[in-house]
């Protein structure tokens, strides 16, 4: 028994010592990364782009937080980044963005928002903070448009009966509510005269209605019909039963999902003839779903979409933050790539999953991670986010 104890102690010391060796060797700029999702295919793709491509290309060290679930976790993680002498924090977590910016500003480290934006009120308050780099990602308007385009795609094909998966709507997840509102707004606008959702006939009213209800009601919307709805992420038998029932709803033609469509509905969709549309990322698993006819439409963030916010952050760390003519931080929208066929998806996926030639390569980013870059040049660069535009940037 004594030997076992000694062995355990020795093993532990050895592990800690070995762990210190790579730590002692580096002298890179450290950047903390806040994540509230560490396991989805989208999150893994983002992480791979930073840790396997950007870190090597630029000689920076990314320190990732654990998977965060609340604002207290964000604050603790930023504390840990400060302890580690990180020069900046790139945040994928949105429980309390103002608190993140305040905390970083007080500590004198830069803060940047990836794959999201601040609200207008928040931006007005923080745009001139010295250590706030800015935000690049889908704004709520872009989220709304993603939902709208998805629904319009099927309505324009003549489909009339839909199902909807609301994901985080019952938990008041803003981006899911806006995507769902976009879908309903498309139905209202294309549902014929007098079409409305619970009396709401415009985007603002529909968004307000969803926030008031914390859910979405089924029923006729003009000459269209939302025949089934499931929300939440209960992952119990009853919840899976509802999903199965939704797919089996008589006459249903397409199921519009605010996210995670393949993960939660893929098993039921196969062979049903119902079209599945979702917002996700360009991963091999989604490619397989598209090839097998399970997934029909996907609006996806591409992994390298977080390249520009890294370039902006690096500029700030190097003492040349990108600011507009009034000295305000960045607030730039960046949308999705939309694939509606297996071939198109394969083309996007090949670029997106490459760790040697990703969508935004070092050669492209170098033009903008530089003291020479102007605010207008950077805005122009970020606005060219479609697949074809990025391919043309590479030429």
């Amino acid at each position: 028994m004594k030997n076992l104890k000694r062995s355990l102690c020795l093993a532990l010391c050895l592990i800690l010592a070995l762990a210190c060796i790579p730590a002692m060797a580096d002298g890179n700029v450290k950047i903390g990364v806040l994540v509230s999702d560490a396991t989805s295919s989208e999150a893994l793709a983002f992480r791979a782009y930073y840790t396997e491509y950007i870190a090597k290309a630029y000689g920076v060290e990314f320190i990732y937080s654990d998977e965060l679930t609340d604002a207290a976790g964000e604050k603790s993680a930023i504390d840990n980044f400060i302890v580690n002498n990180c020069k900046a924090v790139i945040s994928f977590s949105s429980f309390d963005r103002p608190a993140q910016i305040d905390q970083c500003d007080a500590a004198g480290i830069y803060n940047a928002v990836a794959t999201g934006t601040l609200t207008d009120e928040q931006y007005d308050e923080y745009k001139d903070y010295e250590y706030y780099v800015g935000a690049i990602g889908p704004s709520m308007d872009i989220e709304f448009q993603a939902g709208y385009d998805m629904a319009a795609y099927y309505i324009d094909q003549g489909m009339t009966k839909f199902g909807m998966f609301g994901g985080g709507v019952p938990y008041y997840v803003d981006m899911h509510i806006y995507r769902a509102a976009g879908m309903l707004t498309a139905m209202v606008e294309k549902g014929g005269e007098g079409a409305n959702y619970k009396g709401a006939d415009n985007a603002g009213a529909i968004i307000g209605q969803i926030y008031a209800d914390g859910g979405i009601d089924t029923g006729a919307i003009g000459n269209l019909e939302l025949a089934a709805y499931v929300g939440g992420y209960d992952f119990n038998d009853a919840w899976f039963g509802k999903l199965s029932q939704m797919v089996g709803t008589e006459g249903i033609q397409a199921i519009l999902t605010v996210g995670s469509g393949v993960d939660v509905l893929g098993g039921f969709i196969s062979g049903s003839g119902v079209k599945l549309a979702t917002v996700d990322s360009f991963t091999p698993a989604m490619q397989e779903a598209m090839d097998n006819g399970i997934l029909d439409y996907m609006a996806g963030k591409f992994a390298a979409s977080i390249g520009p916010i890294f370039a902006a952050t690096l500029n700030a760390v190097n003492g040349q933050p990108i600011r507009d003519s009034e000295g305000n931080a960045l607030a730039l929208g960046q949308g999705y790539w939309v694939a509606t066929s297996s071939e198109q998806f394969a083309q996007y996926c090949a670029v997106d999953s490459s760790m040697t030639d990703p969508a935004y390569t070092k050669e492209i980013l170098d033009q903008y991670a530089s003291s020479e870059v102007s605010y207008d040049d950077f805005v122009d660069f970020v606005s060219q986010y479609s697949f074809d535009e990025i391919v043309s940037l590479k030429k």
């Binding site: 104890k5 355990l8 102690c9 093993a11 532990l12 592990i15 800690l16 762990a19 210190c20 730590a23 002692m24 560490a38 060290e61 320190i63 990732y64 654990d66 998977e67 679930t69 609340d70 604002a71 207290a72 964000e74 604050k75 603790s76 504390d79 840990n80 400060i82 302890v83 580690n84 002498n85 429980f95 309390d96 103002p98 608190a99 305040d102 985080g168 019952p170 938990y171 008041y172 997840v173 803003d174 926030y211 008031a212 914390g214």
Partner: protein, 319 residues
């Protein structure tokens, strides 16, 4: 009882020695990694104080040989209602009292249900955890402002400092130590945890003690909820959700058996909570990635508990 050798005494102090070893490791790793060690100490206190408060109170319940799985949810509900009370009144004392009051009410319901239906507290807390988790969602829905309930950060910032938090923790530890050590309550609780049949035959009222333990624990939950708002005043459905598991780990890490009984100690919770805090900081400084970090944490946890429980192996009536 012969005189104990130093080697025999080591297991009894393993948790404290473990904490000291972790503090030493923290400084060494911090030096190697050129980390901001002073700031890290503040971070350890900030990250450990809520767990330490809730775990210190929970020692009373664990001492009885019982188990409360609803601690996290109770802290979350208390914090949400405290924040809503503040938003309605603008008064920090009201927020404080609501946090404490709600936690005490939840503790009273837990222990009363256990008494009325003659159920173990553990069973009622399982049911209560589900109810409270659902109630958190309802509260957020009632609040009608998205998926969070917020208190303005600048309103609570004056309290978000280390001296205040340490003072709250010290006062609560003093209260618990007084009740646990100097009043019959502590001895009776240890007796029940060690041998419930003998305790009952000796005339100790288990139900009364269960209610007292729940109420004392509830004060810790209320204080934890208050400091949760002070630290991060944006609350959501997952606020304090990890506290239940953190408390169990802290108590075991602190060298107290989860089966309760005579080896229960108030300070175990504090030692365990701060050990976890330093361990987390070390893992963060090493930037091993959460996977490797978790594995090493688990190895250290097993090691400390293995040594701490060493003195009990092979003994009769180990509780």
């Amino acid at each position: 009882m012969g005189k104990q050798t130093i080697r025999e005494r080591i297991p009894a102090f393993a948790s404290i020695l473990g904490l000291l070893a972790l503090i030493a490791a923290y400084y060494i790793v911090g030096l190697i990694r050129d980390a901001n060690v002073a700031y890290g100490l503040k971070a350890v206190v900030n990250q450990s104080v809520v767990v330490a408060l809730v775990a210190t109170g929970a020692v009373f319940i664990y001492t009885l040989g019982s188990f409360d799985i609803s601690l996290g949810a109770a802290t979350g509900v208390s914090a949400l209602l405290g924040a809503m009370a503040y938003n309605a009144t603008g008064s920090l004392p009201v927020m404080f009292l609501v946090c404490i009051g709600v936690a005490v009410a939840i503790g009273f319901i837990n222990s009363s249900l256990a008494s009325v239906f003659n159920l173990p507290i553990f069973v009622t807390t399982v049911a209560m955890m589900s109810v409270l988790s659902a109630f958190m969602l309802i509260l957020i829905g009632w609040n009608g402002a998205g998926d969070t309930i917020k208190v303005k950060a600048r309103d609570v910032r004056p309290l978000d400092n280390i001296p205040f938090k340490v003072a709250v923790l010290a006062a609560y530890i003093a209260l618990c130590w007084f009740v646990f050590t100097l009043l019959p309550t502590g001895r009776e609780a240890k007796f029940i945890g060690g041998n419930p049949v003998c305790a009952k035959l000796s005339g100790i009222d288990e139900k009364k003690l269960a209610i007292i333990a729940s109420l004392i624990s509830a004060i810790g939950i209320g204080l934890g909820a208050f400091l949760t708002i002070v630290y991060a005043p944006t609350l959501n459905k997952d606020t304090a959700s990890s506290i239940g598991m953190d408390v169990i780990i802290a108590i075991v890490f602190g060298g107290m058996p989860v089966s309760g009984g005579p080896r229960s100690r108030i300070l175990s919770a504090v030692v365990g909570a701060f050990s976890m805090g330093f361990l987390s900081q070390i893992m963060s400084m090493l930037n091993l990635g959460s996977g490797y970090g978790q594995m090493i944490k688990a190895a250290i946890f097993l090691l400390v508990v293995f040594i701490a429980l060493g003195s009990q192996r092979g003994k009769l009536l180990t509780r």
